[in-house]
Symmetry: D2
Subunit: 397 residues, 4 copies
């Protein structure tokens, strides 16, 4: 049975609420950078444990701290004056059965590679100082992940997920993702630090986009304005793929041309000049910050994917919610919460709550067995989450 609770949730569906606020911090936002680096470290360490030992050992790399640098961007140029400082923090098992695993070095390389792969103008070798403090962890928490053995929960903690995304949520998420993957690729002046804030007031959606520009690739304020307008129009255009509501788009609203105040960066991220960043303070594992929705405070990025329920249960709850919504007819919204019991197998949570807002004319009681089956199947196969994480098939922020 596994303590699965299914209930109807009486709740104004998100689309029917008058006000909805949704935020997404893009890839180059200092908090997202911290998340991405943290997760990349864990993946690299996990893979190396598997390669060397055939098992994944205890580790957590979920506490990178980014300390902003100083930069001097100007139209057509600029440079980093004081490098960004990134402290890589966590625990790892460095010796196992007399075999050393150089976790510091693996983590360091992973962090640098992440920056190389995701940021075009931020050079991990000269724009960033990396420091690393990976402790050995407390021995009692050292758990080994082996095929076929279900690991035990590291803590009393919980995970949260819901489905489906609302229109505004979907819009905000896709706008940032497509600026990164499409608009940025065609426009070398667009940086990676893009924050999208969505406000829906009834049927009117306002998107506030804060987008770092690359100073070297913008010759003057006229070019800046032109491209900014273009970005605004492009966002408005693609918005119609996600909503029929009226969409207003504002880009870089704090600009003040008379005071020469525009959003220029040398490297594409505001971490170059005054914005610190930290793991777990940005997007939840569905890629969004959604204050009107259930959320977990647990940082999903960087935690070990074996027995850290703060990570696994967030991803698991999101998968269960998503599958329920896909598989079971009549669901309007579904919320999933999973609470662990420390030292009990991760597939045996203290409680797994599924709350459903049904479509009109549908009955939650009738859905219960199907929904329960989805949950049970996932609980039977929590190691799939672990594998997907290690293989990079699940996003964590």
């Amino acid at each position: 049975m596994k303590n699965i609770y299914v209930e109807e949730l009486v709740h104004t569906p998100i689309e029917s609420q008058r006000i909805e606020i949704v935020e997404r911090k893009g890839i180059g936002h200092p908090d997202s950078l911290a998340d991405g680096i943290a997760e990349e470290m864990s993946r690299a360490i996990s893979r190396e444990y598997l390669r060397r030992l055939g098992v994944v050992l205890h580790h957590n790399t979920d506490e990178a701290q980014i300390v902003a640098g100083r930069a001097n961007p100007y139209f057509g140029g600029g440079e980093v004056i004081e490098p960004i400082y990134i402290l890589l923090v966590g625990r790892a098992t460095k010796k196992f059965n007399d075999i050393f695993i150089p976790t510091d070095k693996i983590a360091l390389k992973a962090a640098k590679n992440y920056v190389k792969n995701y940021m075009r103008y931020l050079d991990p070798e000269s724009d960033i100082i990396f420091d690393i403090k990976l402790g050995e962890g407390s021995t009692s928490l050292k758990e080994v992940f082996k095929k076929g053995v279900v690991p035990c929960a590291n803590d009393t903690s919980f995970g949260i997920g819901f489905a489906p995304l609302s229109e505004t949520e979907n819009l905000v998420k896709n706008v940032e993702k497509r600026i990164y993957s499409e608009f940025r690729k065609k426009n070398p002046a667009i940086g990676e630090d893009v924050k999208v804030m969505g406000l829906r007031e009834d049927n009117k959606i306002t998107l506030t986009v804060a987008c770092a520009f690359i100073s070297e690739n913008v010759r003057n304020v006229e070019e800046y304005i032109t491209l900014k307008d273009e970005l605004g129009k492009w966002v408005k255009d693609i918005s119609h793929e996600y909503t029929e509501r009226e969409v207003t788009v504002n880009v870089n609203t704090a600009d003040d041309y008379e005071k020469d105040c525009v959003y220029l960066t040398v490297t594409g991220t505001s971490a170059e000049n005054g914005d610190d960043g930290s793991v777990g303070r940005g997007n939840r594992c569905n890629g969004l910050i959604t204050p009107g929705r259930p959320m977990s405070m647990e940082a999903t990025s960087g935690k070990n994917p074996i027995n850290h329920v703060g990570k696994i249960y967030n991803l698991l709850a999101t998968q269960i919610a998503s599958d329920c919504y896909e598989v079971v007819e009549g669901i309007r919204e579904v919320h999933v919460r999973i609470l662990s019991q420390i030292a009990k197998p991760v597939n045996d949570p203290k409680a797994l709550s599924i709350q459903i807002i049904p479509e009109k004319g549908h009955n939650v009681e009738k859905m219960e067995s199907k929904v329960r089956t989805v949950a049970e199947q996932w609980l039977d196969d929590t190691s799939k989450i672990t594998e997907m994480v290690i293989n990079g098939e699940l996003e964590t922020f």
Copy 2:
């Protein structure tokens, strides 16, 4: 008018939901320690700015990173083997009108004092290495807070609040607070790192308490068990002041006496051995983590209390919700969300949403003008939030 939206929220009230999960990380939890230090630094810097200049200058100290140490606790003794490392991170204005303000030194002292005041067995001079990286911040964000002038929002961001606390929320919050302020004072073996996880399944509440013991003050495992049982009973006893529901209390459930696995610490915090901590990853500004409730991801602690809407709006929304609930009859639950517009006065938000679940027989439309008045009065006096923060009258975690 100020963009205030009032609407009825159709929602299963929290008390009527079948499952409720509530968590509170106590004062000595690594994440709370980071929060407390971050907030203390901001307060100390604010006060010093006021003392020297009569105004508060731009600063943010919301990114302390705690890297766990190593300790060697055993019944009757133990010691810290490798100090905890705490990196104090943020921005501050260090020179103003040719006057130097030694913000690094002020922050360092504040952090050490905080530890001295809140942790009995953690010596900030020998158990902790403090390092500090306070940058100068980007010039355009340097804002001055003067009596009578409304500062402008530093960012596009939002804050969240709700009222009243549910029974379980109230219970969880008070259990931790009273273990700290009452039980701990009478029992020198009780540490400051106490995490309380509350699970309500219908009318059955399970409290899972993880409580660090002070190794020096517990002579053997028998004493440990006795005190643990006593704590469990005491918690159960005081629970009846907050709820008539059935309450089960579990303390340190991961203990395994046969393996000598108990929750002993030298210093009262798990940061001494393997648990890192970070600002903004624990309690929201109402002191709780409530996945079933609207929450903001913004760290409230350590942000400047003048124009950082990530801080001010969380505190403001919580005050407005609380006042509405107190002042206006017929409210069962009220949720408040405030969205800023960057560079606009903080008392002129983009949207202030008030969602109300009314008591049966009450009508939200009739409450609207009163509720609106409460919100408007607070917006007229946002500087009161600033003052309360600086004076230490508002908790931030």
Copy 3:
């Protein structure tokens, strides 16, 4: 036999050379601060090893790095704006026979205590950031010091000593020591960072004294000038106790009153504002820098006093030289050099060279057996050096 070489040195005796340059960096000079902290750490760790285990384990703490801070001194006040940063570096054995020794904590406390004891106005808690990086050392170098067992040399290295001090050397050393112990005690405006440079041109000695003043205790430039003159006269007065040569004293020669350029400090050391410091770059173990004399490059401070020949042989050579001069008649100058063989007992050096400039009418050959006896006795009892170091009876800089 022990490879002891005695020979006559034909050399213009130091007093007969036309030019002699001698320097002493006082207690508060950044390099001396680094030396003092390094040595205090080693002593504290050695004592703790003895207390806990009855033996001294392998360690070296000879690499403290001081990074200057920023300060804002002015007549009558001032403050440290950015703390000094001190990185404590070295190796130590942290676990021995399953007993943990908290060497980081011991070293940290020792460093802070040293500052408290030797610097009146430099607060180790708020004016300095201490960080610590003590590694575990390479296993093969881990040696245990036990009563009665002669440890083996850690390296191929050498030590140097000579006797007696020349008049100018004696003068320079005593001037600094007495400014610290006498003049400073009566004059609260005198700091600890005092550098004395002595130049003897034939029979004319010029002492250039750079002396940090404590800004809080000097009200104005007139007071500064008065005290500076007083210091100059006092130095000149006491000089006659050490020499009959003509002595000229210059104090703070870079002062430029018109440009308000005087040597004021808040804390008594120039490390507060721009002067970094490092172990082993200042005084040799006889307390002086003497370019006209044989010198070793080995830092004596902070090295382990058991088998680090870079430390022991410098101290030993100085003791042997001094004893030879005292005990054996007819010596004008004596130079001692000792070269180790790695992995051979420290009392069995590769070569111990004693070079003697005899007084007129004396014959080195006749001195040889006595001199050899002095050297052999010391070699028979090298552990005495170890004990004296641990007990703080030997200065190392």
Copy 4:
């Protein structure tokens, strides 16, 4: 006249002394690595100042601290387990006439490039953590170097030089240099950390060579022994180019094959495992440590080449000594010492002492005018030292 003192030195010439000790720490020795990095930073910063501003601004980068890592070498393989940590320390002028110069970034790049260029198996990106702390320096020391203007001495300090090198000195220096440039190039198993200690006892020279091997390139202990023997023979062979005295060569004398104790490294430097390093503690600017010769304690590497007399006077004294020896007939040995006066032009020292041991039958008085001319010419052109340093034409360690 410039305070030039010429005198005869009555002294047993170095070649006639019975015992001579000479040491050279090779390129890959941790202290030399620190020196090399420090000097490279200063050169790169100087060049960048020149490129951007046409002048060299105040800076000093003479305090790099290397904290050893951990490595796991074995025959045929091995890896760095914990990276080496290098803290780059100093001062630089970061803003001049409103132009920013990114000195941190320049220094960081220079340090990494240095490692890349001089160490084959030490990867600056994954084997080393670089941190940087470059302060702004005290304003009064900020001096600008312009063509044609003689800068003023930054301090009261002195420099030392002598000529010629003794046979043993020459031998020790060349043995290390040729192992690096010749033997290492042909033998991929030879590392860069080579220390040569020379002991001359009358006409018998013993060279003790400590040479790190590259573990990946040595398959087993037999190969190790073979190559070690080969190195010993090679050194003995080339020794005859420098001396006719009997030369004995010992390589890695601490090896103990039974205990599997050999000098293997992954990266070619002992800094990978337990040996810290620091600027200014190794070779003097002539590339040697010569306890029987006059030496200065000043670190030559990393100091600014404009007005830091601790650097310039060491290089200058060495040049003057060398030129005197070349140009003036009848010199057996010449020692040069230069003492500065703070705030006076660097070409106007307080004293420049030239001490000469003449060849038999030669008279120092007759040499005086020629020798004086050499010194005066160099003093007239101290900026040549600056230029040679910036162009990398002068070695500093």
